[in-house]
Amino acid sequence: MAQFISKKVLGSTLTLVFVLVFNFFLFRVVQPDPVANLFRGRNVPQARLDQMRTDFGLDGSRLTQFWAYLRETLQLNLGFSYQSRQPVWDDIASKIWPTVQLVGLAAILSAAIGIIGGVIAGWRRGSAADYSITSTTMAFYSMPDFWLGMLLLVAFAVVFPWFPVGGMTELGVEHSGVGAILDRLHHLALPCLTLTLAYLGEYAIVTRSSLLDVMGEEYLTLAQAKGLRDIQVRNRHAVPNALLPVVTLAAINFGFVLSGAIAVETLFSWPGLGKATSDAVLGPDLPMLQGLFLVFSAAVIVFNLAADVLYAFLDPRVRPA
């Protein structure tokens, strides 16, 4: 098992290295002279600019620049943001938690609701429940998630002003303790609802499909022959087997979910990585984009690795003997 895990870790590290290479070359193509860009519109003496180029290691060959980039990235030195003039990593670090709150909660809720819906729909295939669950989830899955957010905003923040229009906290008011938590939840409600509805479709469809695959198997008839109730057969034998691919999907999705809320965060002015991305696009704040891209990719790679290992724990057939 340890060998299995270390092989997977090696693979993931390799992928991460490729991401770094890609990141480096893509942005070097676009901004051959980051120093000039950084001080665009400011009157800086040429000597100073040249000095900075040397400091940043920009006067060497492509290869030496790449090594420098590699070294700096590992030290979490990701450059300076054009827009805020702050270190990119500091900006990013402060925005990770808001995104994790929003997207993490939505991921858990959508997985739970989606899976339950998929199980009910699949077990009672062809019934009214199946039909209604499948069509609703398909509808949610087919619309732009931020558009759904717009509808929810209009309905519950404008027409019925029950929820705030955006942001993470109430402006100008200092909450503390329970009040702060309630305020946060109040602001979290609509964006989280939007993401939950947008994501649950995929879980429902995959769970249903997986359950249908399992339903023809003989061990279910055997379970019935043993005297188990229908629900017991479903929950004890069908669902654990059907959930295997869904769990992997969920684990992988958690990784993608970090970057999946870009449009929704923008819509709700939620100060997380997603909003930072769309703000950076407006610049364009290339160092920021580069840093964000790296963080998003790293998240996906890490969660993919976690998904592989988790699957091995859950499905005894996959484990090395």
């Binding site: 198997e217 003989e218 061990y219 008839t221 055997l222 379970a223 019935q224 022959a225 043993k226 005297g227 188990l228 109730r229 004890r236 034998h237 654990p240 087997n241 295997l244 859950l314 499905d315 005894p316 057939r317 003997a321």
Partner: protein, 335 residues
Amino acid sequence: MTLLEVSDLTVTYRSRSGDVPAVRGVSLSVERGGSLGLAGESGCGKSTIAGAILRLLPPGTGVTGDILLDGDDVLAMNPGQLRAVRWTKTAIVFQGALHALNPVQRIARQISEPMLLHQTQPTKRSAATRVHELLEQVGLPPDRAGAYPHQLSGGQRQRVLIAMALACDPDLLIADEPTTALDVMVQAQVLQLLGSLRVERGLSMIFITHDLSVLTDVCDHLAVMYAGRIVEEGPSGTVFTDPQHPYTGALAAAFPTIGDPASRMRPAGLGGDPPDPAHLPTGCPFHPRCPVAEDRCATTDVRLTPIGGGIGGGLGADADGVRDRLAACVLVGST
């Protein structure tokens, strides 16, 4: 004492293209401690009967007739009674293919599940002890209790299924093709196991297979099925050595006994395929493939009738307990 009595069982599957009559008026019985072999090609309805006894067929399937298990009418039971009867009175041993067992559960857990469900074992610990006993009885090393199905061989999986079936001490064991997927050596071991279980525990059995030669050793009584009906039945020895119905003859010849010159001389094999249950031939369903068919076979619908002067008219036994010989062929009997 009759443990299982099936009277005029008819099973019709509902499908998109219409109704499919899989079993058409079958009657059979099993005595306490007795064993019945049910033989026939694929699609003749034998596995359907197994499913019908415990009402395991897909919802919506049309089932008529009577199934009396120890005097209780299975078809009239409510869901609660039915669930109580399953596995405790009658258990099924399926073919030990890989997916007959839940792939993600250890076999000990699967074997103990019915014990805890029906409370034949009060605690998990006592169930675990019982699991070990059962594994030993079926000839599996007890350390395999924690194994997953994919870690076992085909023969071992079959034994697990047998152990599982014995978990709640049922009166009747239905074995549905238990040796079909196994190679010959393992087949012999499993058959020996079933035979000894019968003797030691007084277990009643229904043994379903397409291999007629297997049944003669394990079963007292034999019924041959074709196209949803029983076409011949009687004591297993005589049915195999002296088949009356042409189909039985062909089936027996397909599995010759090595070293027996009589079976060597018999014509072997049968052309054609079993009929599609949705489109049965007129008259006797076997006539298109029958080597001795006459013209009237295409028009006369045959029923099981006693041959060789038995009591007649059903499944009775004479004073010595010897069952009737019955056959469904216009060319046989009545002489």
